[in-house]
Amino acid sequence: MEFSLRQLISARRHRLIILVPILALAFLFLASPPDGQERSPWLLFAGKFHLLTIHFPIALLYLVPLLELVGRHKRFPHLRASVEFMLMLGLLASLFAASLGWALARNGGYSGRIVTQHMWGGLLTALACWLCWILRDHAASRRGNIVYWAALATTVALVSWTGYRGGQLTQGENHLTDGMPAALQTLLGISTDDSNATGATTTVAVVARNTFYGAHVEPIFAKNCYSCHGRNKQRGKLRLDSYKAILRGGKHGAVIKAGNIAGSELFHRINLPQTDDNAMPPSDKQRLTPDEIKTIEAWIEAGASETSPLNAVQGAPTNVAAALKEIELPEYDPSIADKSRSTHAADVAALQKRYPDLLQYESRTSAMLSLNASLAGEKFGDRDLASFKPVLEQIRTADFSGTSISDHSSDLIASMKNLRLLRLSHTRVTDDGVKRLHDLAYLQSINLLGTQVTSAMLGTIASMPKMEHLYVANTRITPASANTPTLKQKLIF
């Protein structure tokens, strides 16, 4: 046998020495695995460099087969000369990075399947790399060559798999499939349906969404807490990814006391200012929104039950949200108006030319009009209003304050079917004219300030269906005329 163990040992004895740190690391992994506890901040700090250093051995180990392959070409034989150095460097670097990784996992509150697999994957990679290093000396023979390449393939496979697991730890379990084009997903038969792909829900009991806990509380924990208090990490020995785990609490005991806000550590922590060391989520994470805090508060106060139905929790922010009135701001689209204005746009344009500034569209997207004749003052009379005949139905607000219009215009005003607001203050209108407006179904406000009207017209006008305000100061109407409660409410002096 060309590569018997004996020969191997005798020829390259010093290479066995490097097995010592590999085995030592394995012992460390077995003796003190990551268990979700947080320990030395110093080691944790050092461990954070795992993420940085790890990419060095990865690159080296991928380079090895590449150099071997390219080096076979007659033009690049020199490439193969560096392979042995690469293997040794990759091995040392991976051991160094792996120990940092252990420091991170052991001290940073990690635990769970993925971190364990990642950890042992890293160690096996180092071992496989070591094996390649040994076997390369015997690659001259055909058989030795096959064994060497098998070892090399194993190394690459292990690096890839371990790297993927590491990615899952830092980027989330579906970091590769999340953004994958849908076509590729179907091709590969990957389902991104949450119920299958999210690790959390596969182990956690299915949450009933028809309970308050399931519908409102669990999603808050899932969004804000699972990354450190879930399956993969249990900082402070606390898991929040199931109702049972929440009740069990963490290393300091229960975090929630049913019906007792003040005694619930969890509620205390989420309300601490972000600068507080004990604040949750910690300072580098997104805070809970006031509504989320209110939801949890209401839930705890109502007994922190897993099963109580949606409506059993009082003061929950679903009600709070209803109190907030979000204003919809529609996209600006003037073309809406083009169509609805088509019937009278030409008339409006002509009137706008003749009476500058008096006639405007209510808004840029509306076909309705606003007429402010008061700007023209006494110059504006009954005859002028007559020229507005083609657009009367589109007028929604009309201000004739201080103009010289009189009762002769009443019929024109009465045909402004969509009128909501009418100002006739300081004009010559009288009771007769005003009474003729009784058919204006949408009129909400009429201003008769300083006119000759008397309480004789009040009955007719105040009983109009939409009428809210009648401005009657400086008329012959006195507060004494407001003899019914409705009139009292509508009349303004």
Partner: protein
């Protein structure tokens, strides 16, 4: 193709070879000559022309698109349609309809410069009274910066008794008996906050949306967006009640990057309403007209030559001043009001006072002025001197403003104008729950600046009446419910006037400039009726 020896400058620089292709192209040649010219094309020529060719190809392919994106003036950076504010340059204040159906047509903004204490007027904190004189909790001071407070100050209880008023039962102190009658018309926001704790930047923030100089004021934005109804008066008028100018200075009604025709016009409530508006002695209106005609003609020629839009706005402003000579003088003249009205406001013609300004504001609103801005002064109640102490000067400020504001609201309501006029009252920040004790044991009581919480109120123009939005903590120090940023208030005011605050914008310095800035603003829907 001939290989050149590039080390030989003679071959390399042969002008004959370099020029030949161009000449060939110009003259049009026989095939044999053409062939010869092609023979003269070197690799060097190819490479030189090739780069230009590729560049041309790139431009040919992408230039139309680049131009489209640069000149798509009808679409904003979000790809949605922009609102077109283009007007006839000779009529820059002409009315444009708002984007959405408005609930207010104009705004009267009563700015109490110096920041009145919410804790002495509207934000009633009985717990603070119990803790009066106690050391302020250290948590109030952590991470906070104050204009004047140093060390650990004492808490200061409300200085005036509060009671519930009106059908809405809102708390109000005994300093505002006239406003109290309108408490059911008011909509309080008790959870206003700002990020500025000094007067000038805080006033700029409130008035221009930005704490730095050079931005357009609310009134400028509004007149830019809507124009003004009365072409014989400015669309944006500013009235100051004598005393000090607000710290923010004239920038508070500046137009920033908007055309200067939209800046506020400061009018005086005593003497000539607008300085130099009157014709000088011996100049008739006819003579003035002839002079303007000549000046306008010169300006028009200037505009033809240089195309500066500001020239057109200068012509427009001369013309407006000419029209204003009659109407502005008439509007500002409160002698025309009855003695009863003058008494209701406490106005005395010829004086510079907030009362006169309130009356003028009503007259301006009646005549269709779009944005009327009043500034009162002296609300900076630090307690360092009698005139600004909560127990002395503050009372005078209340007296000076309470009756006129009450009368203004009375008038607007009686005339039906509260239906489409939005009245806004407020300072630039709030005051602390702690006593400021700058001069040791002085008899004057005062509070420092508190940007963390202040109260404003609005009335009319589509806001709820008899309503309170937001809440501060038991000390009145920090907001505990529904905080409202200044830009949220701006967005809400613009919404009442019929604008989506994002759409009322102006391209400047590569940005769609907005009153509400680039930060997200929220229309406070809860206060809208």
């Amino acid at each position: 193709m001939r290989e050149h020896d590039y080390d030989d400058p003679k071959t390399y620089c042969d002008p004959h070879i370099a020029e030949e292709p161009e000449r060939a192209a110009l003259t049009g040649m026989l095939p044999a000559e053409k062939f010869a010219s092609l023979q003269a094309q070197t690799r060097r020529h190819f490479l030189r022309n090739f780069t230009a060719g590729v560049g041309t190809m790139f431009l040919g392919a992408s230039l139309p698109e680049l131009c489209r994106s640069l000149h798509a003036a009808d679409r904003g950076i979000d790809g949605n349609l922009r609102i077109d504010f283009v007007r006839d340059p000779s009529n820059p204040l002409s009315v444009l309809p708002p984007q959405l159906a408005p609930t207010a047509k104009r705004i009267i903004y009563l700015h109490m410069a110096g920041a009145p204490s919410q804790l002495e007027l509207f934000d009633y904190k009985p717990d603070l009274a119990h803790l009066d004189g106690k050391d302020c909790p250290l948590s109030f001071l952590a991470g906070k910066r104050f204009a004047f407070i140093t060390g650990v100050p004492k808490l200061l209880g409300p200085q005036y008794p509060f009671h519930r008023a009106g059908q809405s039962g809102q708390w109000i102190s005994d300093r505002l008996p006239h406003l109290e009658k309108h408490v059911d018309d008011l909509c309080f926001i008790k959870s206003m906050k700002t990020d500025q704790f000094n007067h000038a930047p805080a006033q700029l923030l409130v008035q221009t949306g930005n704490a730095r100089l050079g931005y357009a004021s609310i009134g400028s934005w509004v007149t830019y967006g809507l124009g003004t109804e009365n072409q014989n008066l400015p669309g944006f008028i500013v009235l100051i009640s004598g005393g000090n100018m607000p710290d923010g200075g004239k920038q508070l009604w500046g137009s920033g990057f908007l055309p200067s025709v939209y800046q506020g016009v400061q009018c005086q409530s005593h003497g000539d309403p607008v300085l130099y508006l009157k014709n000088p002695e011996g100049v008739s209106r006819q003579a003035r007209r002839s002079m303007l005609d000549v000046v306008d003609e010169i300006n028009r020629q200037e505009h033809k030559e240089f195309g500066d839009p500001e020239t057109v706005s200068r012509i427009a402003q001369y013309e407006m001043a000419f029209r204003m000579q009659i109407e502005a003088t008439d509007t500002m003249d409160i002698h025309k009001e009855s003695a009863a009205t003058l008494a209701a406001y406490g106005a005395k013609p010829g004086e510079a006072s907030f009362a006169n300004n309130c009356l003028v504001a009503r007259r301006l609103a009646e005549r269709g002025v779009r944005f009327i801005q009043l500034y009162h002064w002296g609300w900076d109640s630090h307690g360092a001197a009698a005139k600004e102490a909560l127990n002395l000067g503050f009372q005078d400020r209340c007296r000076e403003t309470d009756q006129p504001i009450g009368a203004l609201l009375d008038d607007l309501k009686q005339r039906g104008m509260l239906e489409d006029t939005l009245v806004v009252w407020g300072g630039e920040f709030g005051r602390t729950s702690m006593k400021e004790n700058r001069n040791g044991g002085s008899p004057f009581v005062g509070r420092d600046h508190n940007p963390g919480a202040f109260t404003i109120w609005m009335a009319g123009g589509g806001v709820k009446s008899g309503y309170t939005h937001g809440e501060t903590d038991a000390m009145g120090y920090e907001i505990v419910k529904d905080p409202v940023e200044v830009r949220d208030l701006h967005a809400t005011m613009l919404y009442a006037l019929g604008f989506d605050h994002r759409k009322l914008n102006y391209p400047y310095q590569g940005l769609e400039q907005k009153l509400t800035t680039v930060n997200p603003a929220r229309v406070v829907g809860e206060v809208l009726a």
